[in-house]
Amino acid sequence: MKRYIMLIFILLCSLFSIHCSSETNKFTIISGSENKSLEELVKEFGKKNGYDVEIHYKGSVDIMLELESNSISGDAVWPANSFWLALGDKQKKVKNAKSIMTSPVVLGVKAGLAQKLGLIDKTVNVQDILKLVEEKKLKFMMTSATQSNSGASLYLSLLYALLENPDVITKEDLNRADLKERIKLIFSGVNRSSESSGFLKELFLSHPEGFDAMVNYEALIIETNLELEKRGLEPLHVIYIENTTAMSDSPLGYIHRNEPKKEEFFEKLQDYLLSEQTQNTITSYGRRTGVSGVSSKTDTGIFNPNWGISTDKILTAMRVPAPEVIKEALTLYQTTLRKPSLTVYCLDFSGSMAGSGEQQLKEAMKTLLLQDTASKYLLQAAPNDITIVIPFSDRTFASMRVNGNDKTALLELFNKINEKKPTGGTDIYSPVIIALDKIIKENTETNIPAIVLMTDGQSNTGRNFQALAEHWRRAGIDIPVFSILFGEADEKQLKEIASLTSGGVFDGRTNLITAFRKAKGQN
């Protein structure tokens, strides 16, 4: 009898699957931004198998936090490094994670400069980089170590190399004063930060004349170079830091939720990505595949030796420290070691913000300014950070400022924001111009500047884009404006500002707090 019941059950299941396959099912992957170039490949496969695959891009820290709090959405995760799964997946939700490809984190320096600095055809160690930064000969872009895997990997491998490749980094090592000084010195060479590797690449390409060097995945430096050569511009020369190179291994894992159909599709997708043919395609995108990352079909047009790329070179990888050491190292980066930030928030308090907008804005600022919540997202302030807030509507209100990371001072700043009531029209340009003036007066050599502009309406009064553009150009400093789109804001106006300043636009309409966190993650 039992068997018959089983049989009926199986038949019901198959009937259900017939029914389902006529419709498209949704399958969501939460992925690092570096996988953007593979999106088409994955979607195409999904389509052929009756699945509409959506990829949501998130930073590695976000993926780790969501796994940790068991609030991860989606059906699969695809971070850049398996250690994020090890750190976050305490509940053992991720199943069958397999590395799809690898890519080392490298330093890309403009070919001419690399030549001048004697970095070509030579063994380059962390100590060499340290010296160049100390002598102010090298400045570079890198992602935030607390928001993005490439930044975190670089940071941890720098620690490892400066400790002269120990067995493993320990908590005691992290407290060494000499180590902290040297790491700070290297990070003093950072001239642009970002919350994601993909976005960093885009920033570089939006303004290639403005930057000399970038730390990113080999794969993304390859993508950058292909684009630069297309535009007839100087490529970046890839430098592998000899005594330690971080290697991303991009594991794709299924989030276990007892959905056999989805799991089956996941396995098919994973097999497809790991099949010889797809692995060759992935190699053609500049990712390393195959044993030891050396595929037999490496195209020298992609892995171009003229760009300094070598797949034969043995890359010594950092030994991954214990999870609690990684966490402590990340906190240390955020509160002590990173280059301090100088952030000016221009916040819209025009009449249309009244109600939910006002509430969400205040909630977002609370997340960033109250150190207990900020630290949850590894966004807490450091002693030399500068935070300035300029509320505006059709007029610009008095600015408020906190130097450093004093909890009470930041709480007071939030309380002042909390008291503000929305009223009047919208002029987004005047507060940004004032913010520029404030930044110009500060030392932008010691602090990475950024303006975060949040608005919910079209600028219809006061100053205009031309006035801002003139002002920005006259300043002659790289000051990006990151705008947060909300309510009825004019995307065109914000994009214009982003393109002028090599900034960005984040959509806050679905989640304002997330958009603010992204904007803050930029410096």
Partner: protein, 365 residues
Amino acid sequence: MKQKLVGIIILSIIIAAGLVIYVASSGTKKTIVVKGYVGGEKAGLLESEDFKKILKDKFGVIIDYTKVGSIEMARETKTTNIDFLWPSNMIALEIFKESNKKLVKSENIFNSPIVLYSWDTVVGSEEPGKETGLIKAGIVQKINGTYYIVDMPRLIQTIMEGKKWSDLNINELYGKVNVMCTDPVKSNSGNIFAGLLANLLNNEDVVDESLIDKHMPNILSFFKRLGYMESSSGDLFEQYLRTGVGAKPLIVGYENQMVEFATKYKDYWPNVKEKVRILYPVPTIWSSHPLIALTPAGTELIKILSDEEIQQFAWEKHGFRTGLIGVQNNPKVLEVVGIPEKIEKVMQMPSAKVMDKIIKALEGK
């Protein structure tokens, strides 16, 4: 409503058709489903379509399994409605026996020795007068085409003394000599390696309860050097292959992992085989795969898995050496270079009680 009715009619037709097919086929052969918990190391074999086919066609058996850690299944898992347990070490059997749960029969089905995986650059050349790498250091020797770690104590000592790769004249690698293994608390291969390490520290003799405390500080210091440890042998092996010599110069694994890889990726294997090295510790320890039968169906499965065709398939495609007494595997049929016919020097794992002490110490309890 109309759609619903159509659905019901279709469903009824399908059910009726299904019943006809079922009744017709059940007349010819009876298929039984045997349920059990299995150590993840055997998933590759159990998932193989060819293997499933032999089981079903020849013996009328379908294995319905759930992957569970070897120690966990013996210690904690409920065994109601389960026909068998199939862990990947003898310790699990020992623990199970002590738990007073009902055991119908047990027999070792497969063996696979613990090996170290490395790379050409690390192991070096054996050319007389021009030796390099671990061979030059006298740690590894190539005998009849197989690489043996003839001086395990020296390798362990080199690691404990914090020697660098450059001290062994392996100048391509930075940093200190080390062997990566999985977390002994969570994973079987790491657990067996911890047992081997304890024995090696005990003058290459099986360590007992009276002596383990003396060696504990060294064991703890060894594992502390490893930092983050993977919790699955499969994941570690995959990372070894993926990230290469710079990231994973030397790892602990099972012999059968490379065989499985080589047979699965036949086209690819020729490129790989020149680079990878399988090193056999002397002595090594077996990862054994005893099947613990809890029901008559479980006992039947022991009989089936001891069948010659099954044993041959498991060896040729998945690299599991036979666990049956008096049966030999022929390495000639395998394409993996450097697999010896016999594993000569094998030592016992420390007892379950000793291993329990080691695990608790590693957990910091």
